[in-house]
């Protein structure tokens, strides 16, 4: 059989290079595995988006026009993923991503774009409902939210859940996307004496918020919950001592014992000597989905691949997963983790235990997607 090409457009240089590096590794695992399984050459092509939408689109355009690549799995940042999705639709290709922006399978959804990560609605529901149940005394909540669409999405979902449960959102601090200093917001938060501090930002900002919250002694005074954690990388950067006792909502965790995950962990350890983190795992499963769909369709023809993906149910990294045909959202579990004390860690990556897992999704109509 002829060569199957998958483009991996991820930030390899620039501010999100860490994610790009792991994503590239995950994609390679998926390709190698598929090549062995299907007995055909499968190759991944890293496309460095530099984290910039314009560069991302240019690389994707070139890959489609010049290198005839029809399958793309990647996109870490919302802006680049949205733009690449559009480009794949225009250029006749398919794209699957793990990016956070709900528009991807919401208002800006399109027939060429798929998304593996759980939207903000599910993330919030799966993070805070278990906590509300476990901590009936936690009445007063305070949120820290980045001011843009992603943050608004998380905040909206939070408000809905709290209202439903009759709990009080005693305050919210918006901050800019470039903010690094959270002491002001944290002081405001402390003044409200909340029972729970819910952190709705992600990545480096989330790490900064947590660090500073812990230094203000907030861990001792309230429960801290991060709705959208980036997984193992984040724990490594923060360190176990700092994280201990904090709740983290996560798309993926390497100790999940379901579906393909044990296999992936073994494979990753064998090849790279590490445990898979979210970037690696997400990229692995996205790439795998694309390859499998192309194999099932018999070619990488965009329409055929799309047809193969729509409605597909499969064993994924979180157990049984399925691709919803109406908006191309993958339905999968979201996890709530609680960080362990350093002394309780079984190995160096055993930062947290899984408290709960489950699925919550808006209907495609409620998410605002109309596939044309």
């Amino acid at each position: 059989a002829d060569l199957l090409k998958v483009g991996i457009p991820v930030p390899i240089s620039g501010g999100n290079a860490a994610n790009g590096k792991y994503a590239s590794m995950g994609a390679i695992l998926a390709a190698e595995e598929a090549a062995a399984k299907y007995g055909r050459p499968v190759q991944t092509f890293d496309l460095d988006t530099e984290g910039k939408p314009a560069t991302a689109v240019r690389k994707v355009q070139d890959a489609i026009e010049r290198d005839q690549i029809r399958l793309f799995a990647g996109g870490i940042l919302s802006s680049e993923s949205l733009a690449m999705g559009k480009e794949c639709e225009k250029g006749g290709a398919n794209f699957i991503t793990t990016a956070g922006a709900d528009e991807i399978t919401g208002s800006d959804c399109n027939k060429a774009t798929f998304r593996w990560s759980v939207p903000t609605f599910g993330a919030v529901n799966q993070s805070i409902r278990p906590i509300i149940e476990a901590l009936p005394d936690a009445k007063r909540w305070y949120t820290i939210t980045p001011q843009y669409v992603f943050g608004e999405g998380l905040l909206k979902a939070t408000q809905d859940v709290l209202t439903e449960k009759g709990l009080e959102l005693v305050g919210n601090s918006y901050h800019a996307l470039t903010e690094k200093e959270f002491s002001g917001y944290l002081t405001n938060a402390m003044a409200e004496r909340p029972d729970v501090l819910l952190i709705l930002n992600f990545g480096a900002q989330c790490a900064d918020t947590l660090r500073q919250a812990v230094s203000f002694g907030m861990k001792e005074r309230m429960t801290i919950v991060v709705a959208w954690a980036s997984g193992l990388e984040q724990f490594e950067a923060l360190g176990a001592d700092l994280c201990e006792g904090i709740y983290f909502g996560a798309q993926y965790w390497h100790t999940v014992d379901a579906g393909l995950n044990p296999g992936l962990v073994k494979m990753t350890q064998a090849k790279f000597g590490i445990n898979p983190n979210y970037s690696l795992a997400g990229s692995y499963i996205c790439t795998k989905l694309m390859i499998d769909a192309a194999q099932a369709a018999g070619s990488d023809d965009p329409e055929a691949v799309r047809a193969a993906l729509q409605g597909l149910s499969y064993q994924g990294l979180t157990g049984e997963e399925s691709v919803r045909a109406e908006d191309h959202q993958v339905l999968k579990n979201y996890y709530l983790l609680k960080a362990r004390a350093k002394a309780d860690m079984a190995d160096k990556d055993d930062f947290a235990e899984i408290i709960s897992s489950g699925q919550s999704f808006l209907s495609p109509e409620a998410a605002g997607c109309k596939l044309g």
Binding site: G15, A17, A18, K21, Q147, S173, Y174, H175, A176, T178, E179, K180, E181, S183, G184, Y185, T187, N188, M190, A191, A204, A207, D208, R211, Q212, S215, F216, G217, E233, E236, A237, L238, G239, D241, L242
Partner: protein, 278 residues
């Protein structure tokens, strides 16, 4: 308010090294953020290896100063005479180099540095809660500010440095070895940036792109305060810190906007910044 001052002190510390280099050597140093980055990472590395925080901090600052001194002696002294364009080009190049080296050496992920023993935790006085380490940082920076002020404004050294920046040739005619003075000043300025990075590590952790943000803040502070003015760096640092903290509660998305608007207004209205000398 205390948050603002704490932040301001941090900004002062970031900016003061830049002011020394930028104001006194008339040199636009876009690599300043990279030295800050390096200071933070060295501290992180040393602490990870089990070194005492204080020692790590001092060592990091000294190493950064030595690195910067070497960079100056090997590279920068060849370009002082060229227009600003080339200062920017070279220092941007150095900044990129250091940043990428940091990623190569320590990976792209970043990490946390624990506050030193005894400065962990918070001070509580009624409703007032403040991390000990931040209080310490304010005090430390204040002492440093006074010491620096004395060293640079009240001693001949300050005058010598400024004179050397204007005309190395004429300083030579007066018997000064300006090459060495320049190297020392550059190293000191960069060392301060390294120290700032080391001090900040327990608060902000370390990550490879922290230098870029630091640089832009440092620029704002130096420009608002006035080139070459320590007092300016101090006042502007605190001003920016306080404004940013206050804005954060009033109109958070606009906080940065206000700072840059303020900076533009200051340069347009007050040619030399708040405290710049003519």
């Amino acid at each position: 308010m205390l948050n603002g001052i704490g932040l301001g002190m941090l900004y002062f510390l970031l900016a003061v090294g830049l002011t020394i280099i930028f104001g006194l050597l008339q040199f636009v140093n876009f690599a300043h953020g990279a030295f800050y980055l390096l200071g933070a990472y060295l501290t992180y590395d040393f602490v990870e290896r089990g070194m005492n925080f204080w020692l790590a901090m001092a060592l990091a600052a000294v190493i950064v100063a030595i690195v910067a001194g070497a960079v100056e002696a090997i590279l920068l002294r060849r370009i002082y005479k060229l227009p600003h364009t080339f200062h920017i080009l070279v220092t941007v190049g150095i900044a990129l180099f250091i940043q990428e080296m940091v990623i190569i050496l320590w990976g792209p992920l970043g990490g946390s540095v624990a506050a030193p023993e005894g400065l962990n935790g918070v001070i509580i006085a009624g409703d007032f809660i403040y991390p000990k380490y931040r209080l310490f940082m304010i005090a430390f920076t204040a002492v440093l500010a006074i010491a620096l002020y004395w060293a640079l404004e009240r001693t001949r050294l300050g005058a010598i440095v400024r004179a050397g920046s204007e005309s190395a040739e004429n300083m030579g005619l007066l018997g000064y070895n300006t090459l060495r003075i320049n190297t020392l000043v550059f190293a000191a300025g960069a060392g301060l940036a390294g120290l700032a990075g080391a001090l900040v590590a327990p608060i902000r952790g370390v990550e490879p792109f922290m230098g870029i943000e630091a640089l832009s803040i440092a620029f704002v502070v130096v420009v608002i305060g006035g080139m070459g003015s320590y007092l300016g760096a101090l006042v502007a640092g605190i001003l920016v810190g306080v404004v940013q903290s206050l804005m954060a509660t009033i109109w958070p998305e606009g906080a940065r906007l206000m700072i840059y608007l303020g900076m533009a207004a200051v340069i347009v209205l007050l040619p030399r910044g708040l405290f710049g000398r003519a």
